[in-house]
């Protein structure tokens, strides 16, 4: 023990470790900084989980277009612990996205970005987008059919940008088609470039926290005035502040323990997301969808009217970036308390409700054809004459049920047909089927007169009962 202590004493004297880190660890933070202040350190903790588990995975992952899939199978199915490790990296990613968003929302609601912490906010905005970049590129390194199509969708969106678009699209897929170069560039982004940026900006972000101090809990009636804020903050913190280590840090550690525990439990019980089919760009039976954090955007892209779409694909991300950058300049002073800033609450509530409802839609995908729909079962066909029964079979065979719903069967793209016999006459139905309509193809070339008559015979039996 004694020799260890002496060795530490020598090292600490020559390297100046406590001299440098001690004041940082024990810097004074407001007494009021309690459970609201844990999200930033939780994001940092999730990042450490990601770096660690990511390094572990990199020992076995092969970043090659042809072999990544097999290496993922080996990691996932080759050993129990590989299964858990991939699961931790997946749930760690989810945790990091959740925590960075909570951190952003808390800082926004509490007005902590105001003078003099504008740069804290701006570096945080850069970190936020880098976390999203990691989440998206990470999904692509799970190099299966879904990843291939996600790259294509990303390239298609980049392509809508004027001037730069086509070159950017080609750069994303690494050539003219998906191929061996595609995965390599996302590997470089996910493993080298974006993490390097995150490390640098975490350093800067933490330096700014130390430089300007942790903000106090906002109190109504105590507005920020740049002329006097720093002086008053420093006077208060010297009088009532507490050292970060350990008076504030223990809460961070409680949250870190709960979060990492949850990641581990989920990784062991649920495991990593199953691999889709192999990354074959010529296989069409894929059903591409992004991971949960981008499902809302997937829904937006399905719901937008086409004339608006290119504007949103290019404009929405730009608008989000500009809006986030503008926040500390638009509102640099004044009240911090959420109760005095109803607009701040409204923005967060609208964003949260929008995200949740769009995500639910993204899970349900009501705009997608139901490719797996089965023929209508016997209980739907009870009491039908032979022609109507044949019509019911045609409604399945001709793909009507891909988009239309009848008594609990079929897709949701088009209107439900369970009571269509009450709503439309025979002639109206024939006109609609032959001509098509908004978002409905014309079937004039596909159905002969007899088939059409039978389908209409069947549809006329669908009445309010």
């Amino acid at each position: 023990m004694k020799i260890l202590r002496r060795a530490w004493g020598w090292l600490d004297d020559r390297a100046g470790i406590s001299e440098t880190l001690g004041p940082m660890a024990t810097h004074l933070v407001p007494r009021s900084a309690k459970w609201w202040y844990v999200f930033g350190s939780a994001t940092l903790c999730a990042f450490i989980v990601q770096v660690t588990t990511g390094i572990g995975l990199a020992f076995a992952y092969v970043p090659s277009g042809g072999e990544a899939y097999a290496s993922l199978q080996a990691i996932t199915d080759g050993s129990r612990i590989g299964h858990v490790l991939r699961g931790m990296h997946y749930f760690g990613a989810s945790a990091m996205v959740v925590m960075v968003v909570l951190h952003l929302a808390q800082v926004f609601l509490h007005g902590s970005y105001k003078y003099p912490r504008e740069l804290n906010w701006l570096t945080g905005v850069v970190l936020f987008f880098m976390v999203l970049g990691m989440a998206f590129t990470g999904q692509l390194l799970r190099w299966d059919a879904n990843a291939v199509w996600s790259v294509v969708v990303a390239a298609e969106q980049a392509d809508r940008l004027p001037w730069l678009g086509p070159a950017l699209g080609r750069f994303i897929i690494g050539g003219e088609t998906i191929g061996g170069a595609t995965l390599s560039r996302f590997f470089v982004l996910h493993v080298f470039l974006i993490p390097a940026g995150i490390f640098a900006f975490i350093g800067l972000h933490l330096w700014l926290v130390l430089r300007h101090g942790v903000s106090e809990m906002p109190r109504p009636g105590h507005p920020v005035d740049p002329a006097t804020y720093v002086q008053r903050y420093e006077r208060r913190i010297r009088r009532t502040g507490v050292p970060f280590w350990p008076v504030a840090a223990w809460r961070d550690m409680v949250v870190a323990t709960l979060m990492v525990g949850t990641i581990l439990v989920l990784a062991v019980t649920l495991g990593p997301p199953a691999l889709d089919q192999p990354p074959d760009p010529s296989a069409v039976n894929a059903n591409p969808a992004p991971d949960w954090y981008l499902l809302f955007y997937f829904a937006v892209l399905a719901l937008l009217p086409p004339w608006l779409e290119s504007w949103v694909i290019i404009g929405a991300p730009l608008l989000l970036i500009v809006a986030l950058i503008a926040v500390p300049f638009v509102s640099n002073r004044g009240e911090r308390a959420p109760s005095r800033r109803p607009w701040a609450i409204a923005i967060v509530v609208v964003a949260a409700v929008g995200f949740v409802s769009l995500t639910i839609l993204g899970v349900k995908e009501p705009w997608s054809p139901d490719f797996g729909v089965q023929p209508l079962p016997a209980e739907v066909l009870v009491g039908l004459d032979p022609r109507a029964t044949e019509g019911a079979a045609l409604v399945h065979a001709k793909g009507c049920l891909y988009c239309h719903h009848i008594d609990g069967h079929g897709g949701f793209r088009g209107p439900e047909l369970s009571t269509i016999g009450t709503l439309l006459t025979r002639d109206q139905m024939i006109i609609r089927i032959m001509n098509g309509g908004t978002n409905m193809p014309s079937f004039a070339g596909t159905l002969d007169d007899d088939q059409l008559a039978r389908i209409v015979d069947f549809l006329l039996t669908r009445r309010v009962r």
């Binding site: 042809g66 294509v152 969708v153 298609e156 392509d159 192999p278 990354p279 086409p306 070339g445």
Partner: protein
Amino acid sequence: MAPEQVNGDRPDLRPRVDEGTAAGASELPLRVIPGAEIRRREMLARLALALAGITTAMVAAPVVGFVVAPMFKPVPRLWRPVGRVEEFKLGETVLVHFEDPSPVPWAGVTARTGAWLRRTGDASFECFAINCRHLGCPVRWVPEAELFMCPCHGGVYYKDGTVAAGPPPEPLHRYRVRVSDGTVEIETAPLPLTIQ
């Protein structure tokens, strides 16, 4: 003297300009630097920064060049065989696949491209890219309904590739097809990204 010592017991080595004025000069006894020395230091700073720029360029140029160069390498257009004419039934739409024009050795399965091929006559074919013109997802041919349908956002195309429903802004991209010595060949093309 204390005022000159800002870092504990170390002397303050920050340069001070010799203003050439008598007033106050005697109170700055430690390091008064003549103007020539200041100019020399400015010159040295510029030199160091210029060298740093040159060094950076020497390292960055090969890296950036290597990363960007493949984008400027022309990709050949090749005719790839997908089968004998007699393998395809008249009027039937089938999925075929062929190899990219210049695959890297480690591309594996990712070097494949798919296409929907339909025989329309003795030696005539039409061929559609599988990529939806909305955002590139793979469209599926639904033979009974004679429609191409996209699983992502519900784009639908008629059998001639024109848009029937949903968000796609333009018809399915077509590949050129030819028959050469009884073999059906498709001309490779870039992934259809740009909207015409």
